[in-house]
């Protein structure tokens, strides 16, 4: 039996938290047991602890572990992680985000844990940070990848190449394991079609374009709103925009919508737990991020049969083929985003085609069952070696 201690800096809304919760839930049997440890969620962020509760995954708190820098808190988190490793004696410690990657991998090594695995859900040294911080982050990750981790997981082929190119880890230790989400409920999302529209008081002929994610700068939702403004001024059709999610940028974005004069056309819905209902009623999913790993909203949207328009960053091109399963636009270019959105607004047939084609590219490849299988295989190899 192999014991996994999974560490996540915090269970904030997004792909990594879902990924970690699902893996912990599923790796509990005669071959594996899993524990999930995480720090506290920042008050401004969306908390995804509810998912862990709903899936029956207990979370062991790690006092001090948090996303923000802070020497004393970090030291505390390190000591607590070390203690967790000593008490629960895992065979493998698996870390998923930047802070826990650094502290968790060091603690695991010091505590004599036989194997450490780190997953790069995105590339934090690109986009998230700049200048000196980016350099520090990069060298910290290099230290983990080169010296501490027994396996480094990239979530796409493209990202693997990037990690190797940046010398984060030697090629033979970088594996590709795609992320996995619970996509099954979305495959039949059309069953709940109409409910969100009713809630928003929208007629059936109105087009609904949605952006889903944390409201943080890296998602560049300001570009989304700018593009929305252009779309609205260039079409006679009734188009409405929804922003699903929450975060520190919410106020600024709401202000921006007012300043652009589109406040009545944009609804900020906050976090929603009924994702199938949201996707069922969207005509287009838009993603404006400056940097991404494998964005959950695209996988979910495509599974629900919704066409997507996305910036071609990070792992996005792995799941969206421009013009075939969705439309790709350059990052930081609201003009192109607006043009692509307009193309879909004006072309129902194209929307239908893209929506219909996308599914088989994401399911079952990005389903949680596939993830589980791949991770089991990787762990088994590690344990054998």
């Amino acid at each position: 039996m192999t014991r996994i201690l999974r560490v996540l800096t915090r269970l904030n809304v997004g792909g990594p938290a879902q990924h970690a919760v699902f893996l912990t839930e599923r790796l509990q049997d005669a071959d594996f047991t899993s524990l999930l440890a995480a720090g506290a969620v920042n008050r401004e962020e969306g908390d995804m602890t509810w998912l862990a509760t709903q899936r029956g995954v207990p979370v062991i708190p790690v006092p001090g572990l948090r996303n923000e820098a802070g020497r004393i808190a970090d030291l505390r988190a390190f000591v607590n992680l070390y203690r967790l490793c000593r008490v629960h004696r895992p065979d493998i410690v698996h870390c998923h985000t930047f802070k826990d990657r650094i502290l968790g991998a060091m603690a695991a090594r010091l505590a004599g844990v036989p194997a450490t695995v780190v997953t790069f859900h995105g590339t934090p040294f690109r986009g998230h940070f700049t200048g000196l911080t980016a350099k520090v982050v990069l060298s910290a990750d290099r230290f983990v990848g080169q010296r501490l981790a027994h396996a480094v997981i990239a979530i796409s082929e493209r990202q693997r190449e990037e990690l190797i190119e940046l010398a984060i880890a030697p090629p033979e230790r970088v594996h590709v394991v795609r992320i996995g989400l619970d996509l099954r409920p979305l495959l039949s999302a059309e069953r709940v079609r109409g409910e969100l529209r009713r809630e928003l008081g929208l007629s059936a002929d109105a087009l609904l374009i949605g952006a889903i994610g944390r409201l943080v700068p890296i998602k560049r939702l300001d570009d989304f709103l700018t593009a929305a403004r252009r779309v609205l001024s260039s079409t006679a059709r009734i188009v409405r925009f929804v922003v699903v999610g929450d975060g520190g940028e919410r106020r600024a974005l709401e202000r921006q919508a007012r300043e652009l004069g589109i406040a009545s056309h944009v609804s900020f819905l906050g976090w929603r737990y009924d994702l199938a209902r949201v996707y069922a009623d969207l005509d287009v999913v838009a993603l404006s991020s400056a940097s991404e790993g494998t964005p959950a909203c695209l996988l979910e949207g495509i599974s629900a049969g919704v066409p997507v328009v996305a910036t071609g960053v990070g792992g996005v091109p792995d799941i969206v083929e421009d013009g075939v399963t969705g439309l790709l636009v350059p990052a930081g270019d609201p003009g192109s985003l607006a043009t692509a959105l307009l193309r879909l607004v004006n072309d129902a047939e194209l929307r239908r085609q893209l929506g219909a084609r996308g599914r088989k590219f994401v399911f079952p490849a990005f389903d949680v069952a596939t993830l589980e299988r791949n991770m089991r295989t990787l762990y088994r190899t590690l344990v054998r070696d």
């Binding site: 039996m1 192999t2 014991r3 201690l5 839930e25 509990q28 049997d29 005669a30 071959d31 047991t33 899993s34 524990l35 509760t53 709903q54 899936r55 029956g56 995954v57 207990p58 062991i60 008490v87 629960h88 004696r89 895992p90 065979d91 493998i92 036989p114 194997a115 027994h150 088994r380 590690l382 344990v383 054998r384 070696d385």
Partner: protein, 630 residues
């Protein structure tokens, strides 16, 4: 319904992986969610099947100040009343879960919370301040709870959870084998494992930080009653009626779909009838039939009842084509279990689990209202003068050996055979899988007298009571928790189904305990008062139907579709049991049965279980867990 597990260490900290691994072994008991709480010396884990409070009922539950943590398996039927009382005393509840009354109830009443709970349960509560773990189990033993004493105290809903813990070496306890082959189960909370015991029904167990335990019996069957009832029989029947209705009503509380097992016998028919009266829509009922075997096939009777009450009835006709079924059943038990009626219960559970999450059953009716033929026979035998009995008993040997459990010659033989002894041995003869003489032979001539000790001790405890009451007490303390309820729990939980038994309601049991024995059985009629109480509810053919056990045509199966399986296991190249038992006797029993000379199906089933268990043990010890070597 759920499964629980945990560890309390006198030294060192509990490893969360150990608790998670324990819980993984009982995931079938609670597929909906899991819970884990580990803090220094204590670790609690739970697998939950959500029945009441689907949203906030996740465990472990804790008190407001987080001083107490609870893992809980079962249902508390009086949780609403308890909750109101506790809220009036200032307790604030965080969830709508029925289990939370145990936490606040403990704060209010300490260990005394156990006797205030009306329901079926097994729980473990950790008191952070006094560093004490309290385990508790319901009165009848509906929900199981095993533990391993010591400085690393372990507990779990099933033995397999404890066996999974790395500190448990799973040493076996051969001294219980004779009792198993006598009764089909083991009494007194012992198990097939040396260090693992079962918390007896109606008990709590307090364990301190050093692993020292103290057990307390908070309930025992009120036979003989302190104050016998003087109610006339008609009055008493009315009270019985009302108590049964209340017992059913309490058990209809559920946030998920619910149904009933229906055998066509009196008990399950009453339960279904009362449910139909209390429910707005048709009740969902489930039964199984055995094609071409009228001795065991009750499906026609079940259909009569289903039609009578207009239920939505599902029936499955089964053959014995599936060895896989038998293997799955054997896997649901962690130790040999000799009652073959687990087979039909297992199959009907699987059938019901497709549509509902909870079923009501008629189990316990025979226990409470004296429904077994063995009661009647033992009492009848007792009436005859000893001289006559001694003289007649040897005739048993001259009787032709009937081929079939319900054949009149089989029954007559058994009766004659039982005449030669006193209570409770005449009663035991009806139940024994291997009678004493044969048991000695099976054990290669070893002394098997200790096999009777558990039985004797229980019977002695009721000294001075009426004979029927003493037999009921004996049956309630041995067969019910050791056989019937184990069967019901393992077979339903293996299918993630919860079973509720209205006839095991404490108020009902306590009332029946005050009645004169003649109200229960008189002139050879069993369950008199129950039949009288529900005479207007049941269709007459059901009321007059002779008693049927819930069995499977195992004898025929062993000669037919399971023949090869049985021969392979018991006669094949190397049965493991020959290292411990008289192999020649086993061979003889097998061949007599397979040739159709005698019906040894009960014995063969017990042997089969034993053999499968021995094989699993061997395979388990050979298996080595994968360890990281990097």
């Amino acid at each position: 319904m759920c499964g629980i597990a945990g560890e309390l260490r006198a030294q060192g900290a509990v490893n969360g992986h150990d608790i998670a691994a324990m819980c993984a072994t009982i995931a079938h008991r609670g597929p909906d969610s899991a819970g884990l709480w580990v803090d220094g010396p204590i670790g609690l884990g739970v697998r939950r099947l959500a029945i009441i409070d689907l949203v906030t009922g996740d465990q472990p539950l804790s008190s407001e100040d987080e001083r107490h943590r609870l893992v809980f398996n079962g249902e508390i039927y009086n949780h609403r009343i308890l909750r109101r009382v506790l809220e009036q005393r200032g307790h604030r509840f965080r969830t709508n879960s029925d289990g939370e009354v145990v936490v606040h109830g403990y704060e209010e009443y300490g260990e005394g919370i156990a006797e205030r709970l009306d329901g079926m349960f097994a729980f473990a509560l950790w008191d952070q301040r006094s560093r004490r773990l309290l385990l508790g189990r319901d009165r009848a033993g509906k929900k199981p709870l095993f533990y391993r004493p010591g400085p690393r105290f372990l507990f779990g809903s099933e033995i397999k959870a404890i066996l999974r813990h790395p500190s448990e070496n799973g040493l076996v306890e051969p001294s219980v084998w004779p009792e198993y082959f006598l009764l089909g189960y083991v009494t007194g909370g012992r198990t097939f494992y040396r260090d693992i015991v079962e918390l007896p029904p109606g008990h709590t167990l307090a364990v301190d930080a050093h692993g020292h335990e103290r057990s307390r019996r908070y309930w025992s069957l009120p036979f003989p009653a302190e104050r016998p009832s003087e109610l006339p029989e008609g009055e008493a029947a009315r009270v019985v009626h009302d108590l049964v209705v209340q017992a059913v009503e309490k058990r209809l509380v559920s946030d998920v779909p619910l149904g009933a097992f229906l055998s066509g016998g009196i008990d399950s028919s009453i339960v279904v009838g009362v449910m139909s009266r209390l429910s707005a829509g048709p009740v969902r009922t489930f039964s199984i039939g055995f094609a071409g075997d009228p001795a065991f096939d009750e499906s026609a009777a079940a259909r009569t009842v289903a039609d009578h009450f207009g239920t939505r009835h599902s029936e499955l006709v089964v053959g014995a084509d599936s060895v896989a079924d038998l293997e799955a059943l054997l896997g649901a038990h962690d130790q040999p279990y000799g009652d073959s009626s687990a087979i039909p219960t297992f199959i009907v559970s699987r059938l019901a689990a497709r549509d509902v999450k909870v079923v009501l059953t008629g189990d316990g009716g025979d226990e409470v209202f004296a429904g077994y033929e063995r009661f009647r026979a033992a009492l009848l035998a007792e009436r005859l003068p000893m001289l006559v009995r001694r003289a007649v008993a040897p005739l048993a040997r001259w009787m032709p050996a009937g081929n079939g459990h319900y054949h009149w010659t089989t029954r007559a033989r058994r009766f004659l055979d039982s005449l030669g002894t006193d209570l409770p041995w005449s009663y035991l003869r009806w139940q024994a899988i291997f009678p004493l003489e044969e048991l000695r032979e099976l054990m290669d001539g070893a002394d098997v007298s200790h096999a009777l000790r558990g039985f004797e001790a229980v019977f002695d405890a009721s000294r001075g009571g009426e004979s029927l009451h003493r037999l009921l007490h004996l049956n309630f303390s041995t067969y019910l928790p050791g056989d019937l309820l184990v069967k019901l729990d393992r077979t339903t939980m293996a299918n993630s189904l919860e079973a509720r038994c209205p006839f095991l309601d404490p108020a009902l049991i306590e009332f029946v305990g005050t009645l004169p024995p003649a109200y229960l059985t008189r002139g050879g009629q069993l369950k008199r008062i129950l039949k009288r109480a529900f005479a207007d509810l049941l269709p007459p053919p059901i009321l007059q139907r002779p008693k049927h056990g819930f069995g499977a045509p195992l004898a025929a199966w062993f000669r037919g579709p399971l023949r090869e399986y049985v021969s392979d296991l018991l006669l094949g190249p190397a049965p493991l049991l020959r290292e411990h038992l008289n192999a020649a006797l086993v061979r003889r029993l097998c061949s007599e049965h397979l040739r159709g000379q005698r019906d040894h199906s009960a014995r063969l089933f017990a042997l089969l279980n034993f053999e499968v268990w021995l094989r699993a043990l061997r395979a388990g010890s050979a298996r080595t867990g994968a360890r990281v070597t990097a």
